[in-house]
Amino acid sequence: MVLQALIEELGAEESNLIKTIEAALSSEELESLRVKAIGKKGSLTKVLRGMGKLSPDDRPKLGAAANQARDRVNNALEHAKKRLENAALEAELKIQLDLSEPSAGLSLGSSHPIMQVQEEILSVMDRLGFQRAEGPEIEHDFYNFEALNFPHNHPARDMQDTFFVDENVVLRTHTSPIQIRQMLAQGEPPMHISGYGRVYRHDQDATHSPMFHQIEGLWVDHGVHLGHLKGTITAFLETLFTPETGVRFRPSYFPFTEPSAEVDMSCVMCGGSGVAHDPAANNEHGKCKMCKGTGWIEILGAGMVDPNVFGAVNFPKDIRGFAFGIGVERVAMLKYGISDIRMFYENDHRFLSQF
């Protein structure tokens, strides 16, 4: 009979515990209930202390009943834990935060727009197979003029207003001296050079700066002809701008190339139609302001390398090559719709942060 009484006591304690567990409101409470129930001094364990009064036959029966009771209490604890976790998660998920509040911390800096455009142009030239090259900014007349077929006392020199350091030393007026240095250094064809850097002209207004950036390509190899010049420049402009870019070559004159051409591309504003979609981009006659209604804008100078240039660097007589040069500021101004070149050198962060 003792067994029966103990089992009943166990049952009462169990149902009591389960009731309390189901009512528990926090995980701390649950933990203390767990200890109270099944710890060393727990209430279920306490019932087992009556084991001694039982006959050896009944002992396993009480043990089994106690185990079952403990399992049920454990289940109840597990269940209650899940219930509390779910409730906590639900509560957390109900907390609304205002994500329109401002961000914090340092914002990223930036490359200068001129440098971004320079890198963009150079990376297009990388892909076309040109090798980047640089050179001194203060140059001897020989590299800047003479070797490039600008004879002394020649009116062609008036094309480039020059800063002088002394009679024979100038601030380079273009990146072409890089060609000369590279050809002299390598001593023989082939050459695939993209020369780039700062250049200087004695000139200052809204579209001219005394210092600006230039990039030029030089491609020298046996069998090079005008078709290569045209193909390369067309691919270059189509990659730099859009595949739809129209390209036009107009004969011109540069001392270091013969024949020479100015290269026009279809206007970035009106797409070559002469009339821009945006009426604000048109002038009082309804024509595109950027290209003055012609549909074309001048973008670079190009030509076949003049034999006198090859003569100056002792290249073989039958060698041919082509060269072209582009102004980085000009491209940046077209790309971003900037009309005053001086903006670039004021470095106002209200300007720089836009690029």
Binding site: R132, P259, N347, L352
Partner: protein, 815 residues
């Protein structure tokens, strides 16, 4: 250069071509038409005759006129003083729009109706003359009511052409007509004007050329019965034409020389014969073409006294120079309104000599512009005809002669060469020959080889490639098929480039924006950097602000910051990558012809590529605290730049130059190499830019040296310990003067041979709970072993000995 369609029509009939066609043809052949301007006088401005003049009843200065347009008679109110009965005038009828958008309407002036306006030349855009209404010559009297524009053939279109320096042949209407003749495949017109040459009877001047290498011909031309004042009617027409192509009208003899210049490109000069005779006195006029004597003087037409050099070629009489050959005439012998007899100079001077004189004296004239580009030496006959035409003369006295004209060298090239240049397209040699001949280039083709005789008007054609380029120019690039060249080796990525990328990445991540400044500085700015005179000076600077090449990038950044602070006032972080310049002493200036190659080794100045970064912020209440904070933040960036290098040292108390704070700056030293400077900008420098209230922390790094160092890095994987590390935090009090690097060194020393892995300073405290002049430095020591988990007894003795060492060596007290 400005080209008048009307003048052009004298040489080639382009009337059936639109101005757009002409512009396109020229532009696509390398003569870029940069703009066009059309002069078209409203057809409602008509010829009228003044029939009757009477005073305005209500205004003293006005008259009321009855004016006939042939069919109708109109009443006009007019204020001009020069109106008279019978005058032929230009009547602007209601509705007419005059230049300057002035619209004529029916009006009532002080109660009298006026059906239009009598116009002045200025109102019609014909000249600057506004001294009364325009009076039309009586010869037009039969054409009342006709449009003035048609009557006086006033309408014209002006083309502005950008002529490249090689195309001296295109610097005239004749030259452009010749070009169009080839491009439009249309013959030029013959003018048929003849001039009879007479002997020079009346006391001819003597004439001698002393420098025949610089003057290949000199003629004096005089037209009998020439009297400038008789030509007034034609003169106003000529001056109108000249005005439109950019020449201010002067004495009519000068207009004649200018007409000759714009028509055929031959510069000429007009001397006042009477003035020459007066200078010569009884001896008779003697003209010489010679080199000037050193120091000889001449006052030129623009009233500037020029001191001549022995390299200047001059025209001189017995008393001295009367013109600088090909550049400008002298004032004393120039024609003026009283001139009655003119001697025209028609000559040919060497391009180099004219250019040298023009540059030496800073005189740039239409004449020198053409001579230095190359004037066709065979133009003299034509020039005399042009002058005669302009002076209405049919006879001329001519003295002197044309010198020897150097014969152009014949050129030849193979047909296959031309085909190879254009990319292997097959060409018809007959077409090539025809095209070149149309351009005035004598050409024949025999057995696949072209034989070329370049004409005297094309001094730019000296090599076969120049002639081949003529084919390309006139054929156009559209005929060429674009192809890609065969591929080259893939480009390599230099260490300089990866270093620049690294610098940009590290600084941009910390909010620095890149700046690009002009690479100049002023003398005052130079003084801020150093006191030496090793700057690169520009001989012809644009201004004082840009007189020198910069020797520091910080100057530009500070200048930008000053402008920025004016409107922002927040912390500004910026950087720039670029060249700084110092001069090299001239004795080791190498000769470029022998330089052979070395890239940049034979440069003429020292050029260094520098990376400079600057953080500037308002100093706040505690300036020192602001600077400490800024130093800590910017130092992090410096350390990230040198992420590969653990031995970066900040060496203080050195000579950094004037730009840096002497006690708050350090050299960046890596493996014994000085790579840059990090620290605080000198307060004096900040004051120069008006930045007294700001604190600036900055660093400069030599990009080339950094690139070299980085190129030697071989990154290799180092195994890290699998066992947890043990950390001990210690805090010691030391005097303010004790450097944190000294604490570190002692800890390193104490930890030598132990498992001490790292020392991190995580706090430096100065304040109330510590003695003044002291700081508390808190450090975390991390111990780590690859062999196993460390126990307290492995670590504690090392910490204890470290603390003891800190105390004995630096007097540090444990806190």
């Amino acid at each position: 250069m400005l080209i008048s369609r009307k003048l052009l029509n004298q040489w080639i009939d382009v009337s059936k071509h639109s101005i757009e066609t002409i512009s396109d043809k020229l532009s696509l052949a390398g003569l870029e038409v940069e703009g066009t301007e059309t002069f078209a006088l409203d057809a409602r401005v008509v010829l009228a005759r003044v029939l009757h003049v009477e005073k305005h009843p209500d205004a003293k200065k006005l008259s009321v006129l009855q004016v006939s347009t042939g069919e109708n008679t109109e009443q006009i109110v007019c204020g001009a003083a020069n109106v008279f009965e019978g005058a032929l005038v230009a009547l602007a009828q209601p509705g007419a729009v005059l230049p300057g958008e002035m619209t004529i309407a029916h009006a009532e002036i002080r109660g009298v109706k006026s059906a239009g306006m009598l116009a002045s030349e200025k109102e019609l855009g014909l000249s600057e003359n506004h001294e009364g209404i325009m009076i039309v010559a009586e010869e037009h009297s039969g054409r009342l009511g006709q449009s003035i524009a048609t009557l006086l053939s006033l309408n014209d279109t002006i083309l502005e052409i950008g002529v490249t320096p090689d195309r001296s042949d295109a610097l005239s209407h004749f030259g452009i007509a010749r070009e169009l003749s080839a491009l439009l495949e249309q013959d030029m017109l013959q003018d048929g004007y003849e001039v009879e040459e007479l002997a020079w009877v009346d006391a001819p001047p003597s004439l001698k050329i002393h420098a025949s290498d610089l003057c290949q011909g000199y003629r004096l031309v005089s037209f009998p019965n020439y009297c400038s004042s008789k030509l007034a009617d034609k003169a106003s027409c000529d001056s109108r034409l000249l005005g439109r192509v950019g020449f201010r009208s002067k004495a009519s003899a000068v207009d004649a020389t200018n007409l000759c210049l714009v028509n055929i490109g031959q510069p000429t000069h007009a001397f006042d014969a009477a003035k020459l005779r007066k200078r010569a006195g009884s001896e008779g006029v003697s003209i010489e073409v010679r080199c000037a004597q050193e120091g000889e003087k001449i006052k030129t037409l623009d009233e500037v006294e020029v001191v001549l050099s022995s390299e200047d070629l001059v025209i001189a009489d017995r008393k001295g120079p009367i013109a600088i050959a090909g550049v400008m005439g002298g004032l004393e012998t120039a024609v003026d309104e009283n001139t009655t007899e003119v001697w025209f100079e028609v000559a040919h001077f060497a391009a180099d000599s004219v250019r040298a004189s023009s540059r030496r004296h800073g005189i740039h004239s239409e004449s020198s512009y053409r001579y230095e580009r190359g004037v066709d030496p065979l133009l003299h006959e034509r020039a005399i005809r042009e002058l005669a035409k302009a002076c209405n003369a049919s006879q001329a006295h001519i003295l002197g002669e044309q010198g020897l004209i150097e014969e152009a060298v014949s050129l030849n090239f193979m047909h296959s060469e031309l085909e190879a240049l254009v990319g292997g397209t097959s060409l018809d040699s007959i077409r090539v020959v025809k095209r070149l001949q149309n351009l005035g280039i004598k050409t024949r083709c025999e057995k696949g080889e072209y034989h070329i005789d370049p004409p005297t008007h094309r001094p730019d054609l000296t090599r076969s490639v120049d002639v081949m380029a003529e084919w390309v120019r006139t054929e156009g690039f559209d005929s060429i098929v674009g192809v890609k060249p065969r591929p080259a080796k893939p480009p390599r990525l230099g260490s300089r480039r990866t270093t620049r990328k690294h610098l940009a990445k590290v600084t941009q991540a910390r909010g620095f924006r890149e700046h690009v400044n002009l690479a100049f500085m002023s003398h005052a700015e130079a003084e801020l950097v150093a006191s030496s005179d090793e700057y690169v000076c520009i001989a012809n600077p644009l201004g004082v602000e840009t007189a020198l090449m910069r020797s520091s990038l910080q100057l530009g950044l500070l200048k930008n910051a000053a402008a920025q602070m004016a409107h922002s006032g927040h912390t500004l972080r910026c950087y720039e990558m670029g060249t700084i310049f110092t001069s090299k002493h001239s004795e080791n200036s190498p000769n470029p012809r022998q330089a052979g190659s070395a890239l940049g080794a034979d440069s003429y100045a020292k050029e260094h590529e520098i990376f400079s970064a600057l953080e500037i912020s308002p100093s706040g209440k505690d300036k020192l605290e602001t600077i400490r904070g800024a130093l800590a933040k910017v130092k992090l960036v410096v350390e990230e730049v040198f992420d590969f290098e653990t031995s970066l040292l900040f060496e203080q108390n050195q000579d950094f130059g004037r730009l840096w704070h002497p006690s708050q700056s350090a050299s960046l030293v890596c493996e014994g190499h000085k790579l840059g400077v990090f620290g605080v900008i000198h307060p004096r420098v900040l004051a120069f830019y008006g930045l007294e209230k700001y604190s600036a922390v900055a660093f400069d790094i030599d990009v080339e040296k950094l690139a070299e160092l980085r190129s030697q890095i071989r990154r290799t994987y180092k195994a890290f310990s699998k066992f947890p590390g043990v950390t001990r935090d210690i805090s010691v009090g030391v005097p303010e003067s004790t450097r944190v690097s000294a604490l570190r060194e002692i800890l390193r020393e104490a930890g030598q041979g132990s498992a001490l892995e790292s020392i991190d300073v995580f706090d430096i405290y100065r304040g109330d709970t510590i003695e003044a002049g002291q700081k508390a430095v808190a450090m975390r020591l991390t111990f780590q072993s690859h062999a196993g988990t460390l126990k307290d007894e492995d670590v504690d003795p090392i910490v204890a000995s470290a603390l003891a060492l800190l105390e004995s060596k630096l007097g540090a007290t444990q806190r």
